[in-house]
Subunit: 474 residues, 2 copies
Amino acid sequence: MYGVILAGGSGTRFWPKSREQSPKQLQKIVGDGTMLQNTVQRLLPLISIENIYLATNHQQAVETLRQLDSYGFISDHLIAEPCSKNTALAIGLMAKVIIRKYPDAVMGIFPADHVVANSENLIKTLQKAETLAQKGYLVTLGIPPTRPETGFGYLQQGAEIENEAYQVERFVEKPDRPEAEQYLEDGNYFWNCGVFVWKAATILEELQQHAGNIYSQLETIAGCIQKAKGKSAYLELNETGRDLFSSLPSLSIDYAVMENSSKVALIPANIGWNDVGAWNALDEVSEKDSAGNIISGNVLAQDCYNSIIQSESRLIAVLGLNDTIVVDSPDALLVCAKERSQDVKKLVESLNENGHPEGKQPATVNKPWGSYTILDSGPSYVLKRIEVLPGEALSLQSHQHRSEHWTVVSGSAEVVRDEETFQLESNDSITIPKNAKHRLENLGSDLLIIVEIQIGHLLDESDISRYEDRYGRC
Amino acid sequence: MYGVILAGGSGTRFWPKSREQSPKQLQKIVGDGTMLQNTVQRLLPLISIENIYLATNHQQAVETLRQLDSYGFISDHLIAEPCSKNTALAIGLMAKVIIRKYPDAVMGIFPADHVVANSENLIKTLQKAETLAQKGYLVTLGIPPTRPETGFGYLQQGAEIENEAYQVERFVEKPDRPEAEQYLEDGNYFWNCGVFVWKAATILEELQQHAGNIYSQLETIAGCIQKAKGKSAYLELNETGRDLFSSLPSLSIDYAVMENSSKVALIPANIGWNDVGAWNALDEVSEKDSAGNIISGNVLAQDCYNSIIQSESRLIAVLGLNDTIVVDSPDALLVCAKERSQDVKKLVESLNENGHPEGKQPATVNKPWGSYTILDSGPSYVLKRIEVLPGEALSLQSHQHRSEHWTVVSGSAEVVRDEETFQLESNDSITIPKNAKHRLENLGSDLLIIVEIQIGHLLDESDISRYEDRYGRC
C-alpha cells in the first residue's frame, strides 16, 4: 500500500501553540512526536517510508521535510501546493503521481493532525480495507460515535458487503443536536474520519465521473511538477501549474466523489480516533494527574482542577483554577475557559483583524535554511537568535538601513563580507556594515547558532536586497 | 512637618509584579507613578521634598533614590537599613537623626505602599494632627472601617480630647470575623493604617519609657551612620552599627509604644485609604471597564468579566474568564482565582521552597550602576541587555571562565580592557577575552544600552573578580 498524508491544515484552534505559519500537524500536542511524526510512525508497520507521500502547502514544505528527515522520508515524495484547495484536488494529483510509477497502486489517505490511540487496530483495519480496495471499492473508515457530536460528518451503514464491511447508505453532513443524538442511539452511524483506502485507478475514474472539472486538469498539472531549488528537493508546480491549480475549485473528496459514488464501502474502525479539534480535546487523549489536570513544562499548580496548563519555558504559577486552559508561548499567552475552547478560532480571527502579528506568525520563524527568533528590540536595535542547519546558507544579501553584528555562540560559520571570506567558530564575532554584500553559511555538521544585533533607524524584514539564493528567493 | 516614609516592605502578594528584590512600593500598581512616588507626591502640598526622609533596606536604596530623583529628594535623607527590624527601630533611628538637626521637629510617619484616594483630606487631617502633636500627643490616623476586615488591627475610640480628636480606649490586634462584624456595627472602631504624627522628642521619650532596649542603643547606632560609596550618597551604617542594629529586637511601633502609651490620640480620617494588600484590592482602587475588568497592556479580552488582566509586554488573549487574575511578567506568569488573592503569598513561598529563582528575583536585576536583563541562554552562552545610568560604572573586573562580547545599541561607553581604553558609540562592539581586566562606564548624559553575549562553559554570576568598585563591592 502507498500512504498519502494530507498535511495542509492550519489549526488556529491550538493557538498560540499552532499559528497559520506553524500549524497543528507540526506541533507536539499529544505524545512524543509532532502530530505529523506520530502519523508517519503509526503507518510504518504497514507502509514503508519510501512508499509514503505527502501533500502540504508551500510555506510548510521545508519544516515538514525536516520533521520527517530522521524517518528516511524521501524529499521528492512531498508535493508543495501553491495554495489550499481542499482534499479532492490534492488526492487527485497524488493519484496521478503514484499511478504513473505504480499502475496498480492502492493508496491510503491519512490526515496529518489526528490522534489514533490504537495503532494495532488501525493496521488491521487498513489491511482489510486494502483487500476491498483491490476489488474496486472506495473504502472509508467509520468511527463508532461515543457522543452526539455535531462537528463531524456521519456515514450511515448499509448492507454488508463481506466480513463486516458495509455499503454506505448515505453521507450525512454535520447534523444538529437531536439528529446527532438519534444517530448515537441508532448505532448504525459512524463518524467520517477522513481515512480512505482505494486503488489510484479507482479514485481517478470516480473523479472523472463525478468531478470532471478537476479531473480534466490533473494530467496537465502533473506535467508541471518540478523539483524545488535548494537542498530540500521537494516537488512543486511551475508557474503554469500554479496558475492552473489555483484556478480549480476547492472541494472536499467527500463532496466531489464519495457522496455520489456507488463504489463506497465502510469499515467500522475501533482505532481510538480523535481529531483533536481544540484544546479541550486533550482531556480525551492525554494523561491527567490526580486532580484532573494536564500539565506540561515549568508549572507550579496549587488547588487547580481539571485544567490544562502548558508552559513552553517561562514559569507559570496557577492558583485555584477550575476548568481553565493556560497556554504560554514566547510571544503570546492564552487563558481560556475550557468550555470555550472551540471559540479560540474566533479569538485568533479577532487578533488578525486587530493587527496582532502573533495571530499568524510564531515567535520562531522557520526559513528554508533554519530559523530566527526575535529576542529583544528597542527604537534602534533588534536582537535575534539565528539557527542555520548543517549545509544550509542564507542568501547573499545586503541591507541599506542597518548594520549587523554577529557572534557565533555554537557551531561554525563561513561568512562572506564583500570580497572577504571568514571562518568563524564559537566566540568569534564580526560586524557587517550597511550595504556590505554578505552571506552566512553553515559548512559544519552541527547546528550553527548566531546572535545577531541589528542596529539602524529603519529595522524591517523588507530591507533586504538578495543577489544569490539557493532557495530561489531572488 | 517632617515626613518619614517607611519603604521596607517586600510585598510578595503582588507577585510576579513585585518580588523580594523589587518590592511593591517600587512598582506601579495604581495610578501614574510607583506606590512610593505616589506617596511622596501626595505629601508635597504639606511637606516640602527637602523635609522628607526615608528608611528602606540596603538592597532597594539605589532604586529608591532613582525613583525619587525627579522630585529633588535629598539622597542623604535615605537611611538604608542592614536588615528589616520592623517599625520601632526604624522610627526611633529616624527620630534621632531628625532631632539632632531640628530639636522641635514634628514627624509624620507614612508607609510607602498604601493608596490614599483623597489627598486633600489627608493633608487637612495631617494639619490637625500636627496641632495635637505639638501638644505632646502620639497621633494616629484611624480609618472608618467599610467591611468586617480581619486582616487589620483596630483602634477603639475613647473620650474626645478636642475638635473630633479622641483618646484611644485600646489597640486591638487582628480580630476574628464575629469581632470584626461587631466593630463595624459599633461604629467607634477604626482601622490602624500605620500613619502617625508626633514630635520627635515625644516618640523618643515614649520609646525610652516603653522600649528601653531599643532606645538605649539609638544614640550609638545614629553615631554609626555614614555616607554610602558611589554617586548615590545615601546613608548607611558602618560595621559596628550594622552589628548593633541586627542584634536588636524586631518590634512594631504599635507593640513597642502605642499599645502602652498614655499619650495616644486618634483622629478619624476619611482619606480613601487602602493598603492594597493583594491583587484583588485593585477592585477597590482601580477603574473598571463596563464588564468589570481591570485591564492593562497588550490584552485582547473576549467575554471576560470582573477579571484583572495585566500584560507587561507580551500579548495576552483571554476568553470566557470570570473573577480571574492574570498577571504576566517577562519571566513568570500568575493565573489565579480572584478569591484566592491572599494566598499568592503562600504560592510564592512554595516557589521559593521549590528553588524557583523567579520567586525572589525579577527578570530585570537592579544594580547600583543600572540594571541587567537576561534575554536568552543556551548551554554555552548567556545573552543580556545591560543598562548603565549616566555617570555610573561597573566595577573593574575579570572573569575566569567566560569571554564577553559587547555591542553598544544606544548611548556611549568608555571601556577599559587591560591597558587600553576605548570610546564606543552606538553600533560599536568589542570583545573582552577571559581574564582580561575590564570596566564599562557611561560618561555620557543618556542611558547606555549594551547587548552582552557571554560565552563559556561555566556561566555564573559568581565568576567575577572585582579589583575596583565605586559602590564598595570589592
